[in-house]
C-alpha cells in the first residue's frame, strides 16, 4: 500500500513511452530532427566547390600545417651540425598598401632548421629566436620547447645524429646549453638544412594582417656531412592554402656579404589553424543541421508536457501516478532517450556522408580521431536530448508551449547567432559561449588551440572557451536546475 522504493518506475516509463509513440506528430518530429541533421550535412557537403584551391599541406601526424617560409639551404647526408649567430630580427606590418610600420610580431621566427626536403609538410626540427617568445626549439609543427636557460642567447646550433636532432644555445659561441633532443621520424639520409625566416600574420582585432620579417645571420658554420658550398634561397610553399603571402611590395630574399646573411621571409612553419585555412571545414560545420533538429526537439519537449495541461489530461496522468516528481522524471527519461537516439542516428549518418561529399568537392576537413568523432556523435545526441528536457522542464513550469519553446530556442540559438555575428564584440561572444546554454555546442568542436600560433581563436572560428564536455555541462546544469524547479512547482501547485 505505502510507496516503497522505485519499483513502480519502469511502469511509469512504459506508460510515458506509450504516450509518446501514440502521437504521430511527435514521432514524426523526432524523425524530422534526425533527417535535418543529415540533410544539412549533405547541403554543406555539396554547396562548396574548392577543387581549384591549393592543397592543404599535411604534417607527419596527419594534421594540417602551415609550411611556408624562406629557406636558405644545402643538402646534408647523415650526421652533421650547423651553428650560427642571429644578430637582429625585425618585423613590419603594413599600415596601408605599400606602407610598412615596424612592429613586434611575437611569433616571427629566425634560426636553423633541418628538414626532410622542401616538400610541404615534411618532418623537421628547428631552433630559432622569436619576436616575443625567446628562443624555442620546435619539431614536426606541433611540438614546441622553450629555451630553459632563460637567457637571451645569440648563438644557435643543431646537431643531427641519425633521427635525433639536438638544439643548443650559447651567449658567446663557446659555452653551450642544450635546449632539447628530439627524435624526428622520417628524416631521410639526405636532408636539407640551413637558415630560415618565417613571419606569421599578426592578429589585429577580429582579423589578421600579413607581416614580413628580416634577420641577420653571422658566423655560419657547418661540420661534416654537408654537400657543396653554395646556399640556395627558396620560398617554401609559395602557393599554399595556409600562406597569406607577403605584404605588398615585399618578397622573400637572401643576400650575403662578408659571411653575413640577411634573410627576409614571411609565412609560418606551424600547425594550421582555422583562421589561416579559411577554405577548411570542420565536423561541427557539417553538423550545422543540429540547429534545425534542436528546434524540432524543443517543440516536442514542450508539447510533451503542455498538451497535458491543455486538455487537463494531467488530471488523468496524476490520478494514475500520484508521485509527480517521478512522472516528470519518467517523461524526461523517455524524451531524452528518444531525442538522443535521433541525435545518434542523425550524426552517425551525417558525419561520414557530409565529410565524403565535402572532400569530393575539394574542401579540406580538419581531421578528428575516432574518439573525437565518437564524442561528437554522443555529444550531439546529448545536446538534443538535454535541450528537449530543458524545454520539458520550462514547459512544466510555465504551462505554455509558446513560452517554453521560445525560451529554450532563444537561449540556445540566439547566443550562437550573436557569436557568429561579425558585429558582436569578442568579449561578449566569449561570455556567451561560457554562460549561456549555447556553450554546449563546444561538444562538436574539433579544433585545437596552439600556444605557438597567434590567431583569432573565437567561438565563431570553432574555438570554444570551454572544453567539450565542460561546455555541455553548462547546458546540463540549466536542464537539471529546470527539472528541479519543475518538480518543486509541480508538487506544490494544484494540478
Amino acid at each position: 500500500m505505502t510507496p516503497r522504493g522505485w519499483d513502480g518506475f519502469p511502469r511509469l516509463l512504459h506508460a510515458e513511452w506509450t504516450k509518446f509513440r501514440t502521437v504521430r506528430g511527435w514521432t514524426l518530429g523526432v524523425v524530422t530532427a534526425a533527417l535535418m541533421v543529415v540533410l544539412v550535412a549533405v547541403l554543406a557537403g555539396v554547396s562548396s566547390d574548392q577543387r581549384d584551391r591549393p592543397v592543404v599541406p599535411i604534417g607527419p601526424d596527419g594534421g594540417p600545417v602551415t609550411d611556408s617560409f624562406y629557406f636558405v639551404h644545402r643538402p646534408l647526408t647523415r650526421d652533421g651540425s650547423i651553428t650560427v649567430s642571429v644578430s637582429a630580427l625585425t618585423s613590419s606590418i603594413p599600415t596601408s598598401p605599400g606602407n610598412l610600420r615596424r612592429d613586434t610580431v611575437p611569433w616571427a621566427k629566425a634560426g636553423l632548421i633541418i628538414k626532410d626536403g622542401t616538400r610541404q609538410g615534411s618532418p623537421y626540427a628547428a631552433i630559432m629566436v622569436t619576436g616575443g617568445h625567446g628562443v624555442r626549439m620546435q619539431d614536426d609543427y606541433v611540438n614546441d620547447t622553450a629555451d630553459p636557460s632563460g637567457e637571451s642567447p645569440r648563438w644557435l646550433r643543431l646537431d643531427r645524429s641519425g633521427n635525433a636532432v639536438t638544439g643548443s644555445t650559447s651567449t658567446d659561441g663557446t659555452r653551450w646549453n642544450t635546449v632539447g633532443t628530439v627524435h624526428v621520424e622520417g628524416l631521410g639520409s639526405t636532408v636539407q638544412g640551413g637558415l630560415f625566416v618565417a613571419s606569421p600574420p599578426s592578429v589585429q582585432g577580429m582579423g589578421t594582417d600579413v607581416t614580413v620579417s628580416t634577420a641577420d645571420f653571422e658566423d655560419l658554420d657547418t661540420r661534416s656531412g654537408w654537400h657543396g658550398r653554395d646556399w640556395t634561397g627558396d620560398q617554401v610553399g609559395p602557393e599554399s592554402a595556409g600562406f597569406a603571402g607577403y605584404p605588398v611590395g615585399t618578397s622573400g630574399s637572401v643576400t650575403e656579404s662578408d659571411g653575413r646573411f640577411t634573410v627576409t621571409g614571411a609565412g609560418d612553419i606551424a600547425p594550421a589553424v582555422r583562421y589561416s585555412l579559411p577554405t577548411g571545414g570542420t565536423l561541427k560545420d557539417i553538423l550545422t543541421g543540429t540547429f534545425a533538429a534542436l528546434i524540432a526537439v524543443i517543440v516536442i519537449g514542450a508539447l510533451f508536457i503542455t498538451t497535458e495541461y491543455r486538455g487537463r489530461l494531467i488530471h488523468v496522468t496524476l490520478a494514475a501516478s500520484p508521485r509527480r516528481g517521478r512522472v516528470l522524471l519518467a517523461k524526461a527519461v523517455v524524451l531524452g532517450s528518444v531525442t538522443a537516439a535521433a541525435g545518434v542516428v542523425g550524426a552517425t549518418i551525417a558525419l561520414p556522408l557530409g565529410e565524403r561529399l565535402a572532400r569530393a568537392n575539394g574542401v579540406y576537413i580538419f581531421p578528428a580521431t575516432t574518439s573525437t568523432q565518437l564524442r561528437i556523435v554522443l555529444g550531439t545526441a546529448a545536446l538534443l536530448a538535454t535541450a528537449s528536457i530543458l524545454a520539458l522542464a520550462v514547459g512544466a513550469v510555465v504551462r505554455r508551449s509558446a513560452g517554453a519553446v521560445t525560451a529554450v530556442v532563444v537561449a540556445l540559438v540566439l547566443p550562437h547567432l550573436l557569436i557568429a555575428n561579425p558585429f558582436t564584440p569578442s568579449g561578449l561572444s566569449d561570455w556567451l559561449a561560457r554562460v549561456t546554454p549555447a556553450a554546449a555546442f563546444s561538444v562538436q568542436q574539433t579544433l585545437v588551440r596552439y600556444d605557438q600560433v597567434s590567431s583569432v581563436y573565437t567561438p565563431y572560428n570553432g574555438y570554444y572557451p570551454l572544453a567539450p564536455w565542460a561546455g555541455y555541462a553548462v547546458l546540463a546544469g540549466y536542464a537539471v536546475l529546470g527539472l528541479a524547479v519543475a518538480v518543486v512547482v509541480l508538487r506544490r501547485r494544484d494540478a
Binding site: 511502469r11 486538455g311 488523468v316 490520478a319 500520484p322
Partner: protein, 315 residues
C-alpha cells in the same frame, strides 16, 4: 499486485481550501460507502469538483484530510486499482486514439492491452477505439473517461458530472451502469448539479453548497425531511382559508390556483379549524415533496444566503 483496502470507502473530513478571497471548501466532510451509489449534488461552484480533485491528490487543501481506504491517494501504489475516476473535461490528446490513451494508462499500472480491450467493450466504444480522440463527441469522451475509471477494476469509483453531454440513451445506459457497479459492492460517488440526473440512481445523497455539506442522508430520509409536516388544502375559498389558518399561527403559502400549503399545524387540526370557520374545502392531504424541491430548498439558502447547517435542515 492488487491489495484491496480493508474499507473500500472514501472519507472526507473537514476540508478547507481558499483561492485568494474565495473560500472554495469550508469544512467539507462526508463518507462514500461501498455497495451504494452516492450522489454528490450541489449548484455550480459549490465545491464538488474541487473536493474530487482533493480526494485524487490533485489539489492540496489548507486543512482537513481525504482518505481512500484509509490512505491518502498520493500514497497508493497502484492507484487505479483502488480508485477509478472521471473528472470533468479531462480530454485525451486529440491525436491519440482511445485505445492508445487507455494503453498508456494501463502501462502505468502494469496492466496489459487485453484489459484495455475489456473496458473498451464494457463501455461500448469498441467500434471507435482506434479513431483519433480529437473527433469524438462529448458523449464518447465521457465513455472513454468511464473506461479509464474502470481500467484497474477499482472498488471505489468517482465520477464528476458523468451525464454531461450524454444523449438520452446514454443517460439511461449510465444509470444502469452505475447501479451495476454498486451492486458489485463498489463505492460509487457521482457528482451532478442536477438532482434529476441522479434521483433515480442514487441510494444516498450528499448535498453541498458553498463548500460544505448541507445534507447527508438516504434518499427517502431526505424527501421526508424536506416534506416536513406540511399539509395541503384544496379549497374554493383560498383567501379566507389562508387568513384563518395564519391567524391560528400556521405558516401558509398559496401553492396552486386552489391549493394552500400549511406548515406548523397537523392535518387533523387544519380540518377542525376549517370546519369551525365554515370554510369549504374538498381535500386535506399530507404534502409530499419531490427530491428536486428538497434540493432546491436545501441549496437555495446555501447559494443565496448563509449556509444552513445540516442540523437545521433535518429539523
Amino acid at each position: 499486485m492488487r491489495s484491496t483496502p480493508t474499507h473500500p470507502e472514501v472519507v472526507v473530513a473537514g476540508l478547507r481550501k481558499r483561492y485568494g478571497t474565495t473560500l472554495a471548501l469550508d469544512g467539507m466532510s462526508f463518507t462514500v460507502r461501498p455497495g451504494l451509489v452516492t450522489g454528490f449534488i450541489g449548484p455550480n461552484g459549490a465545491g464538488k469538483s474541487t473536493t474530487m480533485r482533493v480526494v485524487l491528490g490533485l489539489d492540496a487543501v489548507d486543512e482537513g484530510t481525504a482518505l481512500v481506504g484509509g490512505t491518502p491517494y498520493r500514497d497508493l501504489r497502484n492507484p487505479l486499482s483502488h480508485v477509478g475516476s472521471l473528472l470533468d473535461a479531462s480530454a485525451p490528446h486529440p491525436a491519440r486514439s482511445a485505445r492508445d490513451h487507455l494503453l498508456w494508462l494501463a502501462h502505468s499500472q502494469g496492466l496489459g492491452a487485453s484489459r484495455v480491450d475489456q473496458v473498451v467493450e464494457r463501455v461500448g466504444l469498441t467500434s471507435a477505439a482506434r479513431r483519433k480522440a480529437g473527433g469524438y463527441s462529448l458523449g464518447m469522451r465521457q465513455r472513454l473517461g468511464i473506461a479509464a475509471a474502470l481500467l484497474g477494476d477499482p472498488p471505489i469509483i468517482l465520477l464528476d458530472e458523468p451525464f454531461n453531454g450524454m444523449d438520452p440513451e446514454g443517460i439511461i445506459w449510465m444509470r444502469g451502469f452505475l447501479r451495476s457497479l454498486a451492486e458489485q459492492g463498489r463505492a460509487v460517488l457521482v457528482s451532478s448539479h442536477l438532482m434529476s440526473e441522479v434521483q433515480d440512481t442514487a441510494d444516498h445523497l450528499v448535498v453541498v453548497g458553498r463548500g460544505k455539506v448541507v445534507a447527508d442522508a438516504g434518499v427517502a430520509d431526505l424527501i421526508a425531511a424536506a416534506s416536513g409536516n406540511r399539509v395541503a388544502v384544496r379549497t374554493a375559498a383560498r383567501p379566507e382559508a389562508m387568513a384563518l389558518l395564519s391567524h391560528a399561527g400556521a405558516t401558509v403559502a398559496a401553492s396552486g390556483r386552489d391549493t394552500v400549503t400549511v406548515s406548523g399545524l397537523t392535518a387533523d387540526h387544519v380540518v377542525t379549524l376549517l370546519n369551525r370557520g365554515a370554510i369549504p374545502f374538498s381535500e386535506v392531504f399530507a404534502h409530499r415533496a419531490t427530491l428536486e424541491e428538497a434540493y432546491l430548498e436545501l441549496t437555495r439558502d446555501a447559494v443565496e444566503f448563509r449556509a444552513t447547517s445540516p442540523e437545521e435542515v433535518s429539523r
